[in-house]
Amino acid sequence: MKNVRTVAANTFREAVRDRVLYNLVFFALLMMGAAILVGQISIGIEESVIVSLGLTAISVIGLFIAVFIGVGLVSKEMDKRTLYALLAKPVERWEFLLGKFCGLVMTLTVNTAAMAVGLYLALWAVKHTLEKSDGWILVAVYLILLKLALIVALALLFSCFTTPFLAILFTAGIYVAGVFAGDLRTVQAVDLSPATMNLLKGVSYLLPNFEDFNVMGAVAHGRAVPGALVGQATLYAVVYGAVVLAAASAIFSRRNLK
């Protein structure tokens, strides 16, 4: 575990030195602009506009980081051959992989937390007060973070056996498919044969169900998020993530470096 921590810390350091956190400037500007704009319209929906916009931005920015840096975590090290010296140290390959994963999740956590603070500041700027129900925003942010961690795991998995370009494509594809996974499970199309329907259903259960992580609608209107939903999503992310990471490390452990 110490090795995992060491790799994770270095991955975080890399992200900081490569100025990944600079995206926060963009987020800050966006929230500032939105606050000023909404403040001028002022027809009682300021709050939900700010919250929806903020959460969407947190999710989208996080997605970009998770996919692009997630795919590069291992593939960049293989390309640049920085991995050679490291794997000749007493480090298991799975430790390296898990360390990389944790490092990026750490980066995303810091980044997302900073954005959440920005969102609260913008909210305060339009409302001049914060209520207890605004606390649900934190729950929404937590669920976004869980989703991002899953995406990082998937990006890692793909980058272990394909080119970075294809890995980005696959990860983005799975994300989009995963958003609709819920619909796929309940779809009732009369013109499809039962066999096709079952296949579709089977696939839909393999896909990560990202809709379960989206509580933006409720939170934007100050409604509560059921604890059971949060618990379920957490469990789902942990199990699904563990399976994906195990698969990634099984592939990576047998992989010949160039």
Binding site: R81, T82, A85, A88, K89, V91, L257
Partner: protein, 317 residues
């Protein structure tokens, strides 16, 4: 005898290529050899011979199709063998956002060294490889030779028993080469085992207790540098100066560099040649035995290999 430092048994590696990866290129074919504890072993071979392939197999960066290897009696599958080994990759490249000191500290953490221990070791090592003044610069700003030095530093930082270096001298200036030679000799003095690959035969001759020559993925011979080239002399060489326009049949065979002529002949013709030179009033500067160098041995092997490869191609096998 104690367990050998490195034992390699029937190691083979093929790379698939071509349409649907149906063809196979053999990079390493049934390599078996051992390196004894405390030995400096040179791994010689032309480009593409399979030196790096062997070393990467040992370091578990790639996996063999057949065969096994042990380092200090431990299977190379066992990650803990890396505690006692150091490795310098070919054309090393490291995290370019770190400084040399940070990189070495990072690597040292995997060896379970304490913070104070890491600090002193990193300082000493940077001094040893001549990077003391550059230690606060990010590695992206390092030159090739400087990276090579960092690579050497990280390979021996944890004071390993077995040090494996893939072309340690490449990219270094003459001073750097000297320093690397000194470091290798120092490791030997401390009883460490060193395996290094190179195409620079003089380095191998100077440093190695034994060398292994690998050509085309096959080990062609292992022995002391002396053994490898044999003991038979190949004739005599005479170096002389002579005034222009003298009648000297020997000149037809001689090569001229500046004022001097150099001529080679079988031993039995030596006295005849000396007579000729005396008659022409030449000045003999030296008479020496021609010893085959490792280089010639090496060239002969490589040429034989090429000839064989061509023959196979022609016969369409």
């Amino acid at each position: 005898m104690a367990t050998p430092a490195i034992e390699i048994e029937h190691l083979s590696k093929e790379y698939p290529y071509g349409f649907l990866n149906l063809k196979k290129k053999i990079s390493l074919e049934d390599l078996s050899m051992r390196v004894d504890t405390g030995e400096v072993f040179g791994f010689l071979g032309p480009n593409g011979a399979g030196k790096s392939t062997t070393i990467k197999l040992l370091m578990r960066l790639i996996f063999p199709d057949r065969g096994t290897a042990r380092i200090l009696g431990k299977s190379i599958d066992d990650v803990s063998m890396h505690q006692e080994t150091g490795y310098l990759p070919e054309q090393p490249y490291f995290y370019d956002y770190l400084t040399a000191a940070e990189l070495l500290d990072y690597f040292a953490r995997f060896h379970g060294l304490t913070a104070t221990d890491r600090k002193t070791r990193v300082q000493n090592m940077l001094k040893k490889v001549g990077l003391e003044t550059a230690k606060k610069i990010q590695l992206r700003k390092y030159s090739k030779g400087m990276l090579q030095r960092v690579g050497l530093a990280q390979a021996i930082l944890h004071d390993p028993q077995v040090v494996i270096l893939d072309e340690p001298m490449s990219g270094l200036d003459p001073l750097g080469r000297r320093e690397v030679r000194d470091i290798i000799l120092e490791l030997k003095k401390d009883g460490r085992t060193v395996l290094f690959s190179t195409h620079i035969l003089s380095d191998a001759e100077m440093l190695c207790d034994r060398v292994g020559v690998i050509v085309g993925g096959k080990l062609r011979g292992v022995g002391t540098p002396g053994e490898m080239v044999g003991i038979q002399t190949q004739g005599m060489e005479v170096l002389f100066e002579v005034a222009e326009g003298k009648n000297l049949p020997l000149l037809a065979k001689a090569t001229r560099t500046g004022e001097r002529y150099r001529v080679q002949m079988p031993e039995e013709e030596l006295y005849g040649a000396i007579e000729q030179l005396r008659a022409a009033g030449a000045r003999i500067l030296s008479v020496a035995q021609i010893k085959p160098t490792l280089e010639e041995f090496f060239m002969n092997l490589v040429e034989a290999d090429r000839a064989q490869a061509n023959a196979v191609e022609v016969s369409g096998k």
